[in-house]
């Protein structure tokens, strides 16, 4: 199995969080090789790898890079380390266990794109991880991998670790850029896309932590070898987070396309306490719910889309048969209401009314007319918000309502949560 791992292939090697430990397992050879290859060859290799963004949108990385207008400088690279998707904790693991692998990936991308400033925007809550990255960056500077004249070349590259301060919306790439410029983290109108007009109005690439952590492997082993780990449609491997009602929650690196949800569930020890599987959210808090009939769907972009959801940020949240889907939906809607940045009306007002209705429904106080109103509000939000936050605030609710209509309806006028009441009777 070990030769099928990319991101976690060095797991267990001693002292990996230090430069010396990382160099012992071949660390920074990828950067040396990249500099010999030159920018164009690196971009070609990344395109050959089929690598797609691991932040949620799954956009092909090489293509994203090639959108940068030629000969416009300075350009910037921003690393999205604002991981805040409910259920997602893979970037945290990558930063805690393999900080230098990330930095090497950042430097390879920075060289390929010929940028002189690479920013790592890390969420405020990851304070310990921020300090760890700062220490790692310092080591990289001292070793000549970053700073003035990287590895004896004429290329200078500053690595700046920038801490956020608690705002889910800053994971949206234009909100991240606003925040990095010292403003409120509210998304910008697109187009222009960041590739054309991003940070400080200059061409900018924003890539996720996991995406960039793959680059040292892709450069040293070749894009084709990386791609072959997965399937043609879903190349490479991916780090999935499994949480919720499973025996052994955690992160698991598995080949894309060849692995199914059932395999992932088994890696995590199966549903806990001998209970039955009820539902899962395959891509983190924003994504649509899937049921037991989807367990044999492979972790493939297209197959999951056909099932009605998305792999999103690579977080699988498992729910057992004691779970009240109305309760889970209510919690997620509260989260979006809290995190709505207030810029656009459909999201700001929509999440408010949505959560008020969900509270009434969860408590068994809502009428059937109110349930219909909930659908109406969601339909008016989805596709009409300024950025995906407002749209995705409706996806779990609406998909759960479609898949478990009787569970939602049974809450209407029940005076309390019937699922919980049923569980108490059974106990």
């Amino acid at each position: 199995m070990d030769d099928e791992k990319v991101l976690t292939r060095h797991l267990g090697a001693p002292g990996l969080t230090t430069l010396a430990g990382y160099e012992k397992v071949g660390g920074y050879q990828g950067l040396r090789q990249a500099i010999q290859m030159g920018p164009e060859a690196i971009v070609a290799e990344v395109k050959a790898s089929g690598l797609r963004g691991r932040g949620g949108a799954a956009f092909p990385t090489g293509t994203k890079w090639s959108f940068l207008p030629k000969d416009v400088f300075p350009r910037y690279l921003c690393v999205n380390a604002d991981e805040s998707e409910p259920g997602c904790f893979k970037d945290r693991v990558l930063m805690e266990e393999f900080p230098h692998q990330l930095l090497e990936g950042v430097l390879i991308a920075a060289y390929a794109l010929q940028v002189t400033h690479a920013f790592i925007y890390i969420r405020g809550e990851y304070r310990a991880q921020r300090e760890l990255l700062e220490r790692a960056a310092k080591e990289a500077y001292q070793a000549g991998y970053a700073g003035r004249g990287v590895l004896g070349t004429k290329w200078d590259c500053e690595l700046i670790v920038h801490g956020g301060a608690g705002a889910y919306i800053c994971g949206e790439e234009t909100a991240l850029l606003e925040s990095l410029e010292g403003r409120r983290g509210q998304p910008r109108l697109k187009p222009p896309f960041p590739a054309v007009k991003g940070l400080y109005g200059q061409p900018t690439v924003v890539n996720n932590v996991e995406t960039l952590s793959n680059l040292p492997y892709i450069v040293t082993e070749g894009g084709a070898k990386y791609a072959a780990l997965g399937t043609e449609a879903s190349p490479g491997t991916r780090l999935f987070c499994v949480s919720g009602h499973v025996e052994r929650p955690g992160t698991f690196e598995v080949p894309m396309g060849k692995t199914t949800f059932r395999d992932l569930l088994e890696l995590a020890g199966g549903v806990w306490r001998g209970r039955q599987f009820k539902a899962m959210q395959p891509g983190g808090g924003s994504m649509q719910v899937l049921g037991p009939q989807h367990l044999d769907v492979p972790l493939d972009f297209k197959a999951v889309a056909e099932a009605g959801s998305s792999l999103g940020a690579g977080a699988l949240v498992v729910m057992d048969d004691s779970t009240c889907l109305v309760g889970v939906a209510s919690r997620l809607v509260d989260f979006y209401r809290h995190e709505s940045c207030g810029k656009c009306v459909p999201c700001r007002e929509g999440t408010y009314f949505e959560s008020e209705l969900m509270h009434r429904l969860e408590a068994g106080l809502a009428s059937r007319a109110e349930l219909a109103e909930l659908s109406d509000i969601c339909a008016n939000m989805d596709g009409r918000c300024f950025c995906p936050l407002g749209d995705t605030a409706t996806w779990f609710v609406m998909s759960a309502l479609r898949m478990f209509p009787e569970e939602f309806e049974s809450h209407c006028g029940a005076g309390r949560c019937p699922v919980r009441a049923g569980a108490e009777v059974a106990a």
């Binding site: 300075p74 991981e83 805040s84 998707e85 409910p86 259920g87 997602c88 904790f89 970037d91 945290r92 400033h117 969420r123 405020g124 809550e125 990851y126 304070r127 310990a128 300090e131 500053e158 700046i160 920038h162 801490g163 956020g164 301060a165 608690g166 705002a167 889910y168 925040s179 990095l180 410029e181 010292g182 403003r183 409120r184 983290g185 400080y200 987070c241 499994v242 949480s243 919720g244 009602h245 929650p249 955690g250 992160t251 959210q281 808090g285 977080a315 949240v317 729910m319 779970t323 309760g327 889970v328 919690r331 997620l332 989260f335 809290h338 995190e339 940045c341």
Partner: protein, 151 residues
């Protein structure tokens, strides 16, 4: 800090962090200092500090307890954990203990430790796979290390 960035305004968040690390919160005068240093209006800085949930405009407890209650933690008992801590500490979500030792927050973003749910973060440290009893133990230990509370 200013020199680190291509545009000085980018130093707003790091500057606010540096002040909060020192003073535990951001008094109104500190926003003016940041504005002057970076060539901004005080309102510009306040607009930023009020947007982000981790900046305080009043003094919080010496230690911040954040109980994650998002979906993964919620599925594994975080509501019971928060209720227990509210009773045990004698504060509500968002409140501080009378000795100024702890501020309890139960309305936080997913803290990215879903593999160890339910969890809480005290200052910068994560405590995972918690039961109410284990959470009590952790906080008792922290309290003992700082017996004097806030002056």
């Amino acid at each position: 800090m200013r020199a680190l960035y291509p545009s000085p305004r980018s130093a707003v968040l790091p500057a606010l962090w540096a002040i909060q690390d020192e003073l535990t919160y951001l008094p109104a005068w500190s926003l003016e200092v940041v504005a002057t240093e970076l060539g901004l209006l005080p309102g510009d800085v306040e607009a930023v500090s009020s947007f982000y949930s981790m900046y305080f405009n009043h003094q919080p407890g010496r230690h911040q307890i954040q109980v994650c209650r998002n979906v993964s933690c919620g599925l594994r008992g975080s509501d019971e954990l928060l209720r227990h801590l509210e009773n045990w500490l004698g504060v509500e979500d968002g409140g501080s203990t009378t000795d100024g030792m702890f501020t309890l927050e139960g309305t936080v973003e997913c803290l990215g430790a879903c593999g160890g749910a339910p969890m809480m973060q005290v200052d910068r440290f994560s405590y995972e796979n918690l039961t109410p009893e284990r959470a009590e133990e952790v906080l008792t230990k922290i309290r003992k290390q700082e017996p004097r509370g806030v002056e």
